[in-house]
Assembly symmetry: C2
Homo-oligomer: 192 residues x 2
């Protein structure tokens, strides 16, 4: 192992891969969508979800205005859509029109949901807070939508039926390996 | 597609897989380690990283006491170690001793780093804040350590050389597929 130790975080790509998602928002009379990889669940009860968005992004302003947003998990076969919404700005183009994005109706918010998503969350904004060069948006998941065919009885993703889009950084995408799944019960290993 | 729409977040497993990490901390005269999957980068400048930890965890108390912590990315071949530290409590056992965990010396903090990790961050606690049933710890990455052999010249993970541990929920682990990588340049797709 060629171990490097340095002050600071360097290129800061070590934490990838991460599931790439599409954030959606409706504000005023317009819908917008952006790509994000810096996102995380924060609590089960209530269900809270966080996403880091640069304040330079148009979506930042729209979420502040709307007070709600959608989180959409799309399969890797649709990774081109992630790259498309990630490489364009809603200030210049109507992304839903340009990229012919099909919508599903939300249940509890105004956030447009993606028909191509295998799961979506509708979030009510709880707070937003600046951390360094990004703003951390925390939403309560007030409604969820998912394709029950792609989840196992234990509610985990069935990788035989769906391939999430994993972002590696540097415009590279892959998926989880479906032939390498191992069951390692913490209750057993914790007693070793 | 058998689409289900419901209020709330349901089982809240839709957002997996996530890279499983090992959080380390030194407080008083002891070291501890725990497993975590709810973690996220928050900012490039300064480099900030967040992790959600239940206040019931011993590590929660130790990080508050120490004011610093380590984040360790271990390969899927060591996923048993993740399950082991995830299934035991530092209140009852010295995990470093019990699971024979090899340490590397930190550069800027007291946090023990894992020799088995292909990358580690040393974090100084910036703040911690309760969101629902978890506490969100935000740290500034003051030092980083990584095996430069497992990163490409673009600083992304070289999946031919390292397999990160992806947690699917329900005690299931897999790795990213190394034969399914696609390059989708947002600058190109954003102009479609």
């Amino acid at each position: 192992m060629a171990r490097v130790s340095m002050e600071g975080a360097g290129e800061y790509f070590h934490h990838y891969p991460r599931v790439a998602i599409i954030i959606t928002v409706h504000a005023g009379d317009r819908d917008n969508a952006m790509a994000a990889a810096w996102h995380c669940p924060l609590s089960f009860t209530p269900p809270l979800y966080g996403v880091a968005i640069s304040p330079k992004r148009f979506t930042h302003d729209l979420i502040v205005e709307a007070g709600e947003f959608g989180i959409n998990f799309v399969p890797v076969e649709k990774a081109e859509l992630i790259a498309s919404v990630g490489g364009s700005s809603g200030r210049e183009v109507d992304k839903f029109h340009r990229f012919d994005i099909a919508r599903e109706k939300p249940l509890k918010t105004s956030a447009p949901l993606l028909r191509d998503a295998y799961a979506s969350y509708e979030c009510k904004l709880v707070e937003h807070k600046t951390y360094g060069d990004h703003v951390w948006f925390v939403g309560e998941v007030v409604a969820s939508h998912f394709d029950e065919d792609v989840f196992t009885p234990e509610q985990t993703l069935d990788l035989e039926r769906v391939a999430p889009a994993l972002y590696l950084g540097a415009e590279l995408y892959t998926m989880p390996a479906k032939d390498a799944i191992r069951h390692l019960d913490r209750k057993v290993y914790g007693k070793r």
